[in-house]
Amino acid sequence: MSQLTEHLSKSLLAAWGLPIPLSESVRSPEQAVTVADRIGYPVMLKVQLPVVSRLRLGGVRRAENRDEAHEFSSTLFNSSFDELQPNSVLVEECMSVEQELYLGVTCNDRHRAHALIFSAGGGAALETHGQALNISIRPDGTLPTVPLRHHLQGMSLSTRAQAEVIRIAELLVRAYMASEARIVEVNPLGITVDGRVVALDARVVADVNALYRQPGLAALARQVAPRRPEDLVREQSRLEFVPLGGQIGLISGGAGMTMAVMDLIEAAGGQAACFLDCSANPTPSGFSSAINLVLRQPGVRSCLISIIGGLTLVDKVAVNFVDLIDAKRPPISFVFRLAGANAGRATQVLAQAGFKNYETIEEAVRAAVGTPGESAAS
């Protein structure tokens, strides 16, 4: 998944015909004031970050005048939202909105079908709003509009607004299908007092696996900054990494087994320093990056390496890690449990370097949770 910021999402969808408020992206409080002056007060100031729930995190402010535009945008630029600090803020005209709607297009994983979701009462209320309308997109990629038309008729919307909502629903579906996105969402779609329909917020989440054949979307995705550390790690070294704050480093293969080992570490009274799945890159460079990541986690005192190889031959894994540990000489202890393909040979390789290859994961976890920071190698 690759989430575009609001500004990038709105740019993409505006090109497909989505009506959006007047806005400009700025990189400093001074620029914010210049743009706000031009647009006219009041303005909305919105951090541009690939996070969900900006509102709840305090990332959206309303400025009534120049002083507020400067003060509030300064605060936004200097704050963190879900651990990310914004490079840009979107300065946008305030719309006076009577009604808010939700329109989203995504794949219903369970039914394995693309669908449009519509709900009255968009914004933060979506999660609590029971009655969402779900319309499956036809195999040819078009949206059946009749169910939406019936639904809109039962709401208090002018004929013109209804037609506009339908037009927007169709264009969102087109944009979603053409870009092979994961999610295309307008939340909320606002109906103004004078009957205009405008997207107050928009979110496009790309499918990273399709970006190789979506050059336009890929170019936008590259503009998203700052990125989460784990997204950068994934891109650079193809490791799945999530820091967890504990003292037991974990280098593992396969998401399911990694989670099972995290559970075992917790049950043994420890806490994993990270979720780190290197199954997509079980190579010397992947393992090197993995060790470096573990060593950067504060408070790490040991590292458990747990890999069960199917495609991955674990004797090669053993050789790689022994060489890396020898070269880096990290100040923590390493505990190994390498099983599966060529496990017997892995045990020999590890023994030659002074490491035990634990037969069961429980024994390995106990050793990792139990050992303070001396090196296990002789």
Binding site: C107, R112, E127, M177, E180, N209, R213, G340
Partner: protein, 294 residues
Amino acid sequence: MTVLVDKSTQLIVQGITGRMASWITEDIQAYGTEVVAGVVPGKGGRTQAGVPVFDFVEEAMAATNANTCLVLVPPHTAREAIVEAVDAGIKLVVYPGDGLPIHDAVRLAKLAEERKVVFVGPNTPGVISPGLAKVGFMPSACYARGVLGIVSKSGSLSYEVCWRLSRAGIGQSTVIGIGGDPVRGLPLGDALSLLENDDETDAVLVLGEIGGTEEYDLASRVGNGKPLAVFMVGRSAPHGRRLGHAGALITGHSDTYEVKVRALQQSGIPVAKTLNEIIPLVRRLIARGGGKEG
């Protein structure tokens, strides 16, 4: 066929000349599974791993009795390779690779449903009926023949669990890796149905992860025949963070570990919460299923 793969499996390996693919093919042959041909566009006429290579699946079908395809090609050519296999008349296609675009997964899932083809994958080690046939790259030594059917979303987890089961004398009938992607081919429910209708399977174990709503569907299957249990990982996973598989993201409240476990238990499905709870739970399950452990 038993469940999906057995002694009657006649396998085409698409992409056979690749380095990993040729290794996997030889490993499958060493297990005793019959590989009858390879298909690699532009490399027809060669031999690889002792079998003829063809340019098209249709040609391979005409020259052999192939009934299964293992697709070992990069994700950007996977959709076309799988469609080609289906169009040529193959009824079981296994695609272990990861990186398949979601929109391709949706197209393929729909195609498989329309043509009554079993499409296993993506992002899975494959399918194995221990002692009979292996279509995938799971480590052979972890498996032994028996009466427990297994459906797993996680490859690594299925290796560990099967290794423990085999060591404890509890063999497996068929282990189906349905994969960890958010949109998959063979759904969990369909995989369960296959095992439920298999006379060599006495009980079924599902290896699950956090995320997704399929675990709730299990609740509705109790009483349909064979005893069912679940091993659920992710008890210690933090709420709201993506861990690994794109499908393993906890978002709303209804998705938490505790809530899912409770829902399953309340509908009569035993749940193992740690690896060492599995063996005793499975022994009780098989006893209920009326069979010996194998």
